[in-house]
Amino acid sequence: MDSPTQNTSLQRLQNVEKRIIRVLELAGGVMDELANPTGPRKEFINNHCREFMKMIKDIQVTLRDEIKSACEYRPFEKCDYSSRISNEICCKKLEYVLSQLDAMKQTIDEYQATI
């Protein structure tokens, strides 16, 4: 429905949650309107109920799609922890080289300052 803006399933599920809240608010609004001492306004209630049903349908469609498309969860087939350690070691190497280069630059600057 609003698929151009929601492109991850996480966002769609969050949208479903928001719709549930909206549905509850509509129900509350309808109840309040029914409790109106001057009598309920038909159009108001009609609109709310229509929106309510529409939202329920949206929720149902979205949830069905998400459940169908949820992929099987295969936990941790490829663990990248060892390459993470390699990267950490490389980071340390880089930091060390940078410190050496900084020291060299400092030496050059000092030399040029004394000239």
């Binding site: 969050q14 309040d32 409790a35 936990p75 922890y81 060892s82 070691i89 930091e95 410190s99 050496q100």
Partner: protein, 664 residues
């Protein structure tokens, strides 16, 4: 009783269907008991006539009475009648109560509802309508309240799960369904244990830090609580050497991840979720690294007692291992907690070291000559950070990278825990360090020699092998001489270029702690004895030790110069005799003029000095002229340190001295 007899007909006492429901269930009237039947029969007896007769009699009486004294007792008559009726009703009730008291079965035959008055109907309707409206209102409020509560809860959970999903992109998040209601979290844990290890038998013990519980903080956001000082990191150092750049490194790295800082940051509301997630991620990185460092240390400990080559354990404490790598150098490896800053670490190193000498530990620094004498032994230690990194790298490659994924490391392939034959990981590391320290000292010596002699140039060759180092010393003939030569002898230009070498090489190779020197341009030993002047320049190859290295280099250079001069002389057609360090020209009458090189490594102005020695023909023996102190038959002139240009012009002068007619 007179009047008409009335007959009523009963239905047959058979069960008749009372009703059928929608789903086909048939309902029969329930059986009535004996008493009920009796009561219903009694009820059916019509006492109306009795009541009517009574009423008629009463009315006649009243009419009579009223016609008699209509005015007197009229207003009380109805009251009397009402009271009599009430009395009757009361007696019925009292009978009923007595019957109930006597525990006889009484069944209520039926009660007719009093017919509601009009205003009662309306007020009933109004009350029920008002109750309904109230119910609706309450429902409405309930719905709205729950909508709001749900919204808040969704916002909180969205924050929590959003953070968890971002962490899940990098770390393994697992879930345990905890049945205990006491834990407010949903049982998420982050698993930092790597179960894809190459050497899984050795590393199958996960540390206590491997599983981290994910908690909620007060705002419902994801929180990770770690006990302080639980992260440890590897620390490497040389005993007796206090590196000057420790505080800088520690200040940069350690302040990022302490847990106290995390909780402090969280209290400030200004930290955005993004930054908070990044901090948590950094914290997890530190824990991961700490687990790796623990594993490295454990493996090193195991290797240290496996009796492999190159490993000598000289000290061991909790989280501390000390090794000696030969030539009096000792190193230590320890695990220190990584949350405190510089002070604790400096204190640690103070504890574990006997003497602390401030040291500038950069490699390849050109040495001032003033510093040379006193701290000669302390120079040349590799930077401790680079050693630490190297150690981590080789352990990681050995233990963690699967065999097929290993990159092709030609020189650094480690044989692993081979035990008896060949060095293990730690042995390899110690041998590499020992070599490094030694080769630094060799380099110092070479640099000292080369920087004093202007025509020698030093070049370092990377060998990509951690236990081999290699340098080449070039002796280059300056371009001016070469050009002068080529201009003067144009016709044989090509031949000359090929014939006269303009560059001599001496190669120095260090394997572990053995020095090999190989140089060309030295005279063939055999031809020396034969006193032939064959132009064979062969290659000298020999081992030496560190103390003799400068002398050997200088000797090699001097002999190369002599060789070059010899060839130059041959180019111009003069036959000269060449000794190891001496070039001899023959003058007329048997006199000889020699150019002699003298080598002195302690000479700070340059290592090679030149002497001009003139002899008359009386001496037959051919010896090194430095040994002759016979002042009578020779004449020596000290020429000093000469550049190659000057040497060449000296040579040309000698050549012209030797014989003008022999030039072509």
């Amino acid at each position: 009783m007179d009047g008409n007899l009335e007959i009523s007909l009963d239905k047959l006492p058979i069960k008749r269907l009372e009703s059928i429901e929608e789903n086909g269930v048939e309902r029969y009237p329930s059986d009535s008991s004996y008493d009920e039947k009796r009561v219903s029969l009694i009820r059916r007896i019509d006492f109306a006539w009795a009541l009517e007769d009574d009423e008629e009699r009463e009315r006649k009486k009243r009419q009579k009475k009223s016609s008699k004294d209509a005015s007197a007792t009229w207003q009380w008559q109805s009251m009397v009648e009402n009271l009599q009726l009430a009395h009757q009703e009361l007696s019925v009730i009292i009978d009923l109560i007595n019957t109930v008291d006597a525990n006889d079965a009484v069944t209520v035959a039926g009660m007719t509802r009093p017919k509601p008055l009009l205003n009662e109907v309306l007020s009933d309707l109004a009350v029920s309508a008002a109750t309904k409206l109230q119910c609706y209102r309450q429902l409405g409020k309930y719905f709205k309240q729950s909508a709001k509560a749900l919204e808040e809860q969704i916002a909180r959970e969205a924050r929590f799960y959003g953070a968890l999903i971002r962490l899940q992109q990098n770390w393994k998040v697992k879930r345990q369904r905890l049945a205990s209601a006491a834990s407010s979290s949903e049982g998420f844990i982050i698993d930092l244990f790597d179960n894809s290890l190459y050497d899984s038998a050795a590393m199958c013990r996960p540390s206590s830090l491997s599983t981290i519980r994910v908690d909620h903080d007060s705002a419902g956001m994801l929180a990770i609580n770690l006990p302080p000082n639980s992260c440890r990191s590897l620390h490497f150092g040389f005993l007796g050497v206090h590196s000057a750049d420790i505080p800088k490194e520690l200040g940069k790295i350690r302040t990022r991840g302490s847990v106290e800082q995390c909780t402090r940051e969280r209290e400030k509301e200004s930290v955005s979720d993004d930054e908070y997630i990044k901090e948590t991620h950094t914290l997890l990185r530190e824990v991961h690294q700490s687990i790796f460092d623990d594993q490295v240390f454990e493996m090193l400990n195991r290797e240290a007692f496996n009796q492999s080559i190159g490993v000598n354990v000289t000290g061991i404490r909790e989280n501390y291992l000390q090794l000696s790598i030969g030539q009096g150098n000792t190193l230590f490896i320890s695990l220190v907690p990584s949350s405190k800053g510089d002070d604790q670490d400096a204190a640690n190193t103070q504890d574990s070291e006997s003497a602390i000498v401030p040291l500038d530990s950069f490699d390849n620094v050109k040495l001032e000559e003033g510093k040379h004498g006193t701290s000669k032994r302390k120079w040349g230690f590799p930077n401790r950070t680079s050693c630490e990194i190297y150690l981590q790298q080789i352990v990681h490659e050995h233990a963690f990278v699967k065999a097929k994924d290993k990159p092709n490391l030609s020189g650094t392939r480690v044989s692993g825990q081979s035990g008896k034959d060949g060095p293990g990981l730690l042995g390899h590391f110690c041998l590499s360090l020992a070599h490094r320290i030694f080769s630094n000292r060799v380099l110092v010596e070479l640099e000292n020699v080369v920087c004093r002699v202007p025509y020698l140039h030093l070049m370092t060759h990377p060998t990509w092998h951690s236990q081999t180092s290699s340098w080449t010393i070039f002796l280059k003939v300056p371009q001016s001489i070469l050009h002068a030569e080529s201009q003067s002898l144009k016709s044989d230009f090509q031949n000359m270029k090929d014939a006269v070498k303009s560059q001599f090489r001496t190669k120095v190779v260090v394997n572990d702690d053995r020095i090999n020197v190989e140089g060309d341009g030295a005279p063939n030993v055999v031809s020396l004895f034969k006193r032939s002047s064959e132009n064979i320049s062969s290659v000298n190859k020999y081992e030496c030790d560190l103390a003799d290295l400068p002398v050997i280099i200088l000797l090699q250079a001097a002999s190369q110069v002599i060789c070059w001069l010899h060839e130059e002389a041959l180019m111009v057609g003069i036959k000269t005799n060449r000794d190891f360090l001496c070039l001899t020209f023959e003058l007329e009458q048997g006199d000889t003029v020699s150019l002699v090189a003298h080598v002195n490594p302690e000479d700070i102005k340059g290592g090679i000095t030149w002497w001009l020695v003139m002899e008359d023909g009386s001496t037959d023996d051919w010896k090194l002229q430095m040994d002759m102190y016979d002042g009578a038959s020779e004449y020596r002139k000290f020429l000093g340190h000469l550049t190659l240009d000057v040497l060449y012009s000296t040579l040309m002068d000698l050549v012209s001295l030797c014989g003008g007619g022999r030039n072509h």
